[in-house]
């Protein structure tokens, strides 16, 4: 189980990610597997990307989502472990204590209902590439063995 003090970071070498309409979409460039995280999960991803520890992420989730207290730490630990297993995240080896980046102060938003976050994993990139086959010579052709 990840400790509350653990700090993780996105595997920026192999993973591209973006939040779209409140959903985090990530892709592992090494193997074409892609992932999605909805609402709570997307918030976890953003908080990790901004440098928060596991414990800080759980506290922020409990604050943002109605009904999260009592579940947040356990669920966050499980989610982050799943992302480590998929190599979406890495342990941060930074020296000393880095200061997490926070969002600018704004109006307090009403709490959203909490739902245990789940990492959705998709291994059907080949089916998408079949709709738009790579151009000869494109890097993707070799990357995902579509030739």
């Amino acid at each position: 189980m990840l400790s509350s003090d653990a700090r993780l970071c996105p595997n920026s070498q192999d993973v591209a990610a973006k939040i779209l309409d409140g959903e985090a979409i990530m892709i592992n460039l090494a193997n074409g597997t892609y992932y999605s995280l909805d609402k709570v999960g997307a918030a976890v991803w953003e908080l990790i990307d901004n440098g928060h520890t596991v414990g800080q992420v759980a506290d922020a989730i409990a604050e943002r989502f109605e009904g999260a207290t009592g579940h947040a730490l356990d669920d966050v630990q499980k989610l982050l472990q799943a992302m480590l297993d998929e190599k979406l995240l890495l342990h941060e080896d930074g020296q000393g204590q880095s200061v997490p980046r926070s969002s600018p102060d704004g109006p307090v938003a009403p709490k959203l209902p909490y739902q245990s976050p789940e990492l959705q994993i998709y291994r059907d990139m080949a089916d998408l590439l079949a709709l738009e086959p790579p151009t000869p010579g494109a890097a993707q052709e070799k990357l995902w063995g579509n030739s």
């Binding site: 973006k18 979409i25 998709y122 998408l128 709709l131 151009t135 000869p136």
Partner: protein, 234 residues
């Protein structure tokens, strides 16, 4: 059988070197009831001279540069054909392309989006690459949802919407198709080579990168797969 008019929309941007051949491949169609609309998306080369040399056979629509999605939408709106097809300015149609697809739509009026297979061909500057790909699957029939093979009905745009003009330039055609299919449109790919895709150094699609635009496409694909699962679960 009453012939149905096909609007052939050719969006173009600085493709003066290729667009004449594209237009000629439409004029060479065995299915004759066509209208050709070239939407010039702000070209700065000799595109206008090339297109106007075809006279009344081609409608030339110059526009300020706004991207391929907007150009296609303008072409759809300017056309009158019941059926609509698209051809990138650097690609070519086989002479029987429209006839074969229309025959298929006549047999299966439930099909909304009809694509076909295509074959890549290399421009002379890429002679070495062409040799490298001899006997390679990408030199044979390629199947996919390629915009230059699409034949659809005007009513599809009325039902499902037009191309999204703020979407990724690189992926907007496929994202439109995924959204449309995800909302219930019936898609088929005719297993016949009816289009030839020109590979040349200027291809937009030659070196697409994994970036924000691609992640938008991933989301569209994921949402499409989810819709398909929900529809099949009904």
């Amino acid at each position: 059988m009453e012939l149905r008019r096909v609007a052939c929309v050719i969006p173009t941007f600085n493709a003066a070197a290729f667009v004449a051949e594209a237009i000629e491949s439409v004029l060479a169609q065995t299915y004759a009831e066509t209208e050709i609309i070239v939407v010039d998306d702000g070209s700065t080369d000799l595109t206008e001279d090339v297109v106007r040399s075809f006279g009344k056979k081609v409608t030339y629509l110059p526009r300020p540069h706004r991207g391929a999605a907007a150009a296609k939408n303008d072409g759809i709106r300017a056309s009158t054909g019941e059926l609509i097809a698209f051809l990138d300015a650097d690609d070519l149609w086989a002479p029987e392309k429209l006839a074969r697809q229309i025959a298929r739509l006549e047999q299966h009026p439930d099909i909304d989006l009809l694509y076909s297979e295509y074959r890549n061909f290399w421009s002379s500057e890429l002679e070495e690459e062409e040799k490298e790909y001899r006997d390679h699957p990408l030199s044979e029939a390629v199947s996919g949802w390629s915009i230059s093979t699409l034949l659809t009905r005007r009513s599809v745009f009325e039902r499902f919407g037009f191309f999204e003009e703020h979407a990724s330039e690189r992926h907007q055609s496929l994202m439109w198709a995924l959204r449309t299919a995800g909302n219930g449109a019936c898609v088929e790919v005719l297993p016949e080579i009816l289009m030839y895709r020109r590979l040349h150094p200027g291809n937009q699609s030659r070196g697409w990168t994994i970036n924000d635009e691609f992640l938008e496409l991933i989301k569209a694909w994921k949402d499409y797969r989810q819709s398909c699962e929900e529809q099949s679960g009904k």
